[in-house]
């Protein structure tokens, strides 16, 4: 029986990610890879369009990750969280790289993000 608060894997909520790159830059093992682009968004009532980052790819290489959780702690938007899921089995090293789809499957985490 795996406790619900177990640090099994790191889950992503892509809709909360602003591509700020803090997790990528602070990761001690360089296991996070993020690709994004900017788009202009026009809002009603705004004088000029707003530039926003759009997330294209987010990958964690669990072959490099040491599960320190620094990315989870530092994410200002609670887009990363611990999840008790722990299904990392793969037959190749490349199979340990998880993208947005796999990382979102571990969401929602059972622990509510801090600060909410």
């Amino acid at each position: 029986m795996i406790p619900a608060e177990a640090h099994g894997t790191i889950a992503l909520r892509a809709s909360a990610c602003t591509s700020c790159m803090i997790c990528v830059r602070e990761c001690p093992t360089w296991c996070i890879d993020l690709v994004s682009h900017t788009e202009q968004v026009s809002e009603a009532g705004a004088r000029r369009p707003k530039t926003v980052n759009v997330l294209d790819a987010f990958r964690i290489d669990f072959g490099l990750c040491m599960y320190c959780g620094i990315c989870v702690d530092l994410c200002p938007f609670d887009a990363l969280a611990w999840s008790p899921e722990h299904d990392h089995g793969a037959t190749t090293a490349a199979g340990l790289v998880q993208g947005i789809k796999e990382l979102e499957m571990a969401w929602p985490p059972t622990q509510p993000p801090t600060g909410n």
């Binding site: 993020l34 682009h37 900017t38 980052n53 294209d56």
Partner: protein, 173 residues
Amino acid sequence: MNSHGRIDVAPADWEQVVSGLQREGFTLFDFITVVDRGSTLEVVARVVNPVARVPTMVWTTLPADAAELASLCSIYLGAAWCEREAAEMFGVVFIGLGDSRPLLLRASLGEPPMRKSSALVARAIRDWPGAAQSTDDGRQGGNPSRRRQLPPGVPEDFLRDEPLVSGTTGDER
């Protein structure tokens, strides 16, 4: 000694203070390690009184460019291993340490690898994922007008904009 069991001593008193602790009942040697503070190195030894179950830590500060300290081997035989490690990783010279051969690395490697001044070669030769920036067209590479961000642990001019010379990086480790 303060309430946290910390003693700060001058390098000259290092051996004498630890020897006194050993006579007072701190007969168990735990470890010696080093903290790099830039221009100084702090050396810390942790010893334990196993009867009272009380640990204490002895700290001393050495200049980084002349890091010499008396060995504790004559007090605790087991200190030799930690001192060899500290000598290899931080370049501290322990006077009186009999066998100071490196444990892991080749003697000819140069800069002690745990010093902050020692560049992390593995980081310099790999592209840092944190250097990527959002681009208007989704390509990686970033806006050339913005200052390029460097990963922590790599000096600004280290192995940048020059070809890697075979035999000087990577395959040495």
